[in-house]
Subunit: 351 residues, 2 copies
Amino acid sequence: MSELKNDRFLRALLKEPVDKTPVWIMRQAGRYLPEYRATRAKAGSFMDLCENADLACEVTLQPLERYDLDAAILFSDILTIPDAMGLGLYFAEGEGPKFKKPVTTAAQVKALGIPDPEDELGYVMNAVRTIRKELDGRVPLIGFSGSPWTLSTYMVEGSSSKDFAKIKGMLYSDPATLHMLLENLAESVTQYLNAQIRAGAQAVMIFDTWGGSLTPETYQTFSLDYMQRIVDGLDREADGRKVPVVLFTKGGAQWLEKMADTGCDALGLDWTINISEARQRVGDKVALQGNMDPCVLYSNPDAIRAQVKQIIDDYGEGSGHVFNLGHGIHQHIDPDNVKVLVDAVHEFSAK
Amino acid sequence: MSELKNDRFLRALLKEPVDKTPVWIMRQAGRYLPEYRATRAKAGSFMDLCENADLACEVTLQPLERYDLDAAILFSDILTIPDAMGLGLYFAEGEGPKFKKPVTTAAQVKALGIPDPEDELGYVMNAVRTIRKELDGRVPLIGFSGSPWTLSTYMVEGSSSKDFAKIKGMLYSDPATLHMLLENLAESVTQYLNAQIRAGAQAVMIFDTWGGSLTPETYQTFSLDYMQRIVDGLDREADGRKVPVVLFTKGGAQWLEKMADTGCDALGLDWTINISEARQRVGDKVALQGNMDPCVLYSNPDAIRAQVKQIIDDYGEGSGHVFNLGHGIHQHIDPDNVKVLVDAVHEFSAK
């Protein structure tokens, strides 16, 4: 493997000194970029794009050509695991992800296997290997997965959901079935992320997009406990370097201390907490990644620069900060505004 | 006015002793009740139902016939004020509220008037007077309004929104225009709630449904500061009794201390915080209303009773708790489960 030329991102996740705050953007390879839309159009469906290692690599690298980003993230979907279990993932135009065969009974949960990361999910590992090779040490590559709770919401509801009626009905009336599903998912995600690390991922992130829909007690029991199992089960070294693990629960700002106690290396933050307060609360346990409101990018260069500076100032002295948005970049953002953000992070944080 | 026969709700909001914890349910007059659906069908549109004082009264009282509730809440919509400003509220089937004429420019904001609560909004006051008369002192009547921030999201976006692109674009790039809009709304809401109090509302609640989409700084500046103006401007006594004010920011559990400092009497809580922790944080400043996950009602009587008991136990000794859900009841809940909840609150809290 080529030597890593820019390791600012990995160093910051481990709270090691850096010359500038590293920056990447959730969903940085996405629909706001015209070159992404062009590749997507030639690929066919969204899953066709994910399953084609060369095209997945192409879109992964596109934002690095435009912006001075400090990390690349595997282009894939969070629902690859349930799809590999046979639930039949598809995307209805304008409606988000759906499953042809949702899982709603104990018998259906019991029948689910653990997908083999190099077989049913081999296309993801091929993409990781291809991207890592093409990156040629330019910046580190991030692998990722959805959290067990977040995956289970889609698997039980059959689609994205506003109120989580079905899965919470199961949670409150048949918790044993939900725990059986989450146990499977914790094991499946662990194997999946370890395979990504073997294939070349240099850091991994677990997206708990819907953990914030839970109560404090059910967050602990039905989301965090299963992320803990994954953190415990990950192979956290590759190429003689530590592979940092980032946990991100959207809407989870109240539970940062508990998340930090899992032994992960960093926490993703949404924008509902001041990063200075978050840092005080987690102390030296973890690095922090975030946390600009993605909607700031709808404004103008002056406003974007002011918000970037504020977050960098709020984080304060010392390493341990990876700049990012508090959630994925939106579809209708002007790509020029992203350049303003990325450059401002490096400018305002330079020593 | 008839003497109030059950004042448990008002007493708990003022932290005065009560024999049992009072309970009501957000959106208790709603689509989960077959009798509501029948009245709605004969009314015509949703707004026709709101504008007909007799039918609005009929649906307001329906849940009191089924359940041993300790308060009634005016049947109306949170978007009556922008509708009265001429934005043209309508409801597209399955899509939620929309405005024919959203407000997006400074000139449009400047042109907005303050609706006269007894003229353009007279139908709401007629409903309050009719309901108060029909209640005949059985339980207190709650009046309500959307918060300025929450109203402004619909007015600028033109509909409900997932990402608040337009209003946050305005917030970050043209804050002066948004402040002008929020100043108008704070004044309009104050006049509207004071008129409801004069017409017979015995407590008022401000619904800040979308405050949780903001950062800590912008929550303070664009939502809480304007709710503060309303709290300061309300006539908080009627019929020789105090009229308690409840603030509810969904997703606002991080900001309870600031909300309590407004001088309101109580805070509504969603289910993302344990009520015991919330009580510790706000101390004696305010009462607390909440906070069961509405999805518990998808389960079964045993699970519902266990969750009710847990929340009552978590709140602990002493007055100052009004039991409620953490958000409005969902459409597909079994009405029998609501009876289980209401009866369990009284059973487990009885001295």
